[in-house]
Symmetry: C2
Subunit: 350 residues, 2 copies
């Protein structure tokens, strides 16, 4: 995949999305220029603002165009909480989740690391450094369900979680591979198989089966409720967590919180088979309350750009960005810096 | 319901269950004796050990017998994690969940309070005092789902979450009632309606509708992922949380962790219509690793007995137990006391 140019799609989105993406691009441009790589950018207007202006979420032609790019850098989408003009969740489902599903982003990779200078809400966090490999294309997120007799006393609403051997096995194997490449080589499956028997046993059996291919990796299992307890009492026990789409959503926000907040949490929505471009985005949302004020922390977006480079085969450039971020973070003292000041400082360290 | 005798069913269960229930009974007996109330006990052998000996989970005749009692005091069930003789989750589903569903325990009440002397894993926990009203009879816990082509590369596993207007409305109204009786009178609905549209909107519409009956109660909404963040960054914001069966499972374990551990977390599985006995149990499990050593903290079981008395209409006796627990907890200094020493100390304060 290492080529002399990157054909990048950029979806800045809403709220603080454009602000943090501007800084991520600043850092990305400098990092790839140093490698002699050309960065070709195509920006796409998508998100809540765009929907208000046009009624479009993700037109087929735009999706087709995105498919031709090497990777997607994504900011954040979503209207202000009180905005009743936009049907709730429509942008999330018909744009963000549609991208993850259409482009087969089955590895939703979310690293969690506590930096020395970053305050954790935990009194004794210990050394936190784990990754969550969240399944990204099935489970309770498939949108399968319905409502019968809506608005009556006899309403019934269903949600169907769909889980396939194909979908579970590929993400479990990816998680084992990542565990194998790490120092502690430990994998934890998180599910709730004592209650969600059918899906839970598929996950459990799959982990047992794939584990035989990775004898060097130890593995254990936690129910999701127990996992949230350990996330606050003993987060350093985790190395690689593999889990389903919904449990992964919950655990990664909690993990971001215990490692000092979602200002630092990066993520990749990765298609490991490279049949479509992968997408990289900060875990945080569009934060309409602080949008346009230059207050947003672009670090998560910048770290997402590093994950993007890694995925495209520019590991050295990715490591340089990460090192620049670490160097910057290590010098933070809690003083307020503007979004662009943080971007400038990290870019200057490259 | 205040009568001169209580016909109590006791299910001590496995592991530390019998040990903590012995202490809860010690306290309960003394508390009701002081009110001149007779406590009639019927003990039931149920749980993993009982299954190993007999192959029985919850026979129909036992369930029918339990139905005739005024209330159930429940310890904990579950085999040791490594025990492969028991099909995973069978006791949980065919005994514990079967009781909750058969006896229509639609209010799964779980209070969370941080005591001054109890260490929280949070550096600045603030004043934590909220209750979670978890739906107990539907949602993803209904056991509806299946597996197609199990064990093949074409396996598909489904889990169906069933949600009804009847089920959601009654628990939401109960949560509003509880919020109305509290000082802050605030209710937070936790769900994930941007993804789980069908169930999520039923919950959201129901909260909006029932809110009109309680103009004195303020209410807001949080996605479950955001709620876990606030649980560690700002838990004092919560007053009453109402949520579905699965999100409630996750949030209450997390809440127990931030308030110093599940040694203190009590719960009630309550049938507010009183068409069947309600069941009271510590949130913790059977903890096979410390069973039989007199190490388990019986406080959660004792507080569960207080919830039981409250439900049966003995509010004064319930308050006395709670006050005795608080007095005991306030004097804790982290030194180890045996299970029975804690029970004795709390009983002595009545
Ligand atoms: C916005 C929402 C649909 C999304 C999710 O639930 O996956 C977000 O919470 C995330 O974690 O990326
Ligand atoms: C044991 C298990 C089935 C149960 C649940 O998931 O409800 C437990 O975790 C709880 O919270 O009481």
């Amino acid at each position: 995949m290492s080529a002399s140019s990157i054909d990048l799609a950029v979806i800045p989105g809403d709220g603080i999305g454009p602000e943090v993406i501007a800084e991520a691009l600043k850092v990305l441009e400098k990092a790839v220029a140093a490698e002699g790589v050309e960065l070709k950018q195509t920006h796409y207007k998508l998100g809540a603002e765009h929907w208000l202006a046009t009624g479009e979420t993700l037109p087929d032609a735009v999706l087709a165009d995105l498919r031709t790019r090497d990777a997607i850098l994504f900011g954040a989408v979503g209207a202000a909480p009180g905005d009743t003009r936009i049907p709730s969740g429509i942008i999330e489902r018909e744009m963000l989740l549609k991208l993850r599903f259409s482009l087969d982003h089955y590895v939703n990779l979310r690293p969690s690391k506590l930096y020395r200078t970053v305050g954790s809400p935990l009194a004794n966090p210990g050394a936190i450094d784990f990754i969550v490999v969240r399944e990204g294309t099935e489970g309770p997120y498939v949108g399968n369900g319905g409502t019968l007799r809506a608005g009556t006393p006899h309403e019934v609403a269903t949600e169907v979680s769909l889980n396939t051997a194909h979908g579970v096995e590929r993400v479990v194997r990816d998680a084992f591979r990542r565990a194998s490449a790490r120092e502690r080589k430990h994998l934890t499956l998180v599910h709730k198989h004592n209650v969600l028997v059918f899906a839970g046993h598929l996950w459990k059996r799959t982990v047992e089966a794939v584990a035989t291919e990775f004898p060097e990796v130890t593995h254990d299992y936690l129910h999701v409720d127990a996992a949230t307890i350990f996330m606050v009492t003993d987060p350093s026990r985790f190395d690689v967590i593999v889990t389903d789409n919904l449990f992964g959503d919950i655990l990664t926000d909690l993990a971001a919180a215990v490692t000092g907040g979602i200002g630092l949490a990066a993520s990749g929505n990765i298609n490991m088979d490279r049949t479509a471009p992968s997408m990289f985005e900060p875990v945080h949302g569009s934060a309409p309350d602080i949008a346009g004020q230059g207050k947003a922390d672009p670090t998560a977006a910048i770290l997402s750009a590093a994950l993007l480079l890694d995925h495209l085969g520019y590991a050295a450039a990715a490591r340089k960005i990460e090192a620049a971020v670490v160097a910057d973070v290590e010098k933070r003292d809690g003083g307020a810096r503007s979004t662009s000041a943080v971007g400038d400082a990290i870019a200057a360290r490259l």
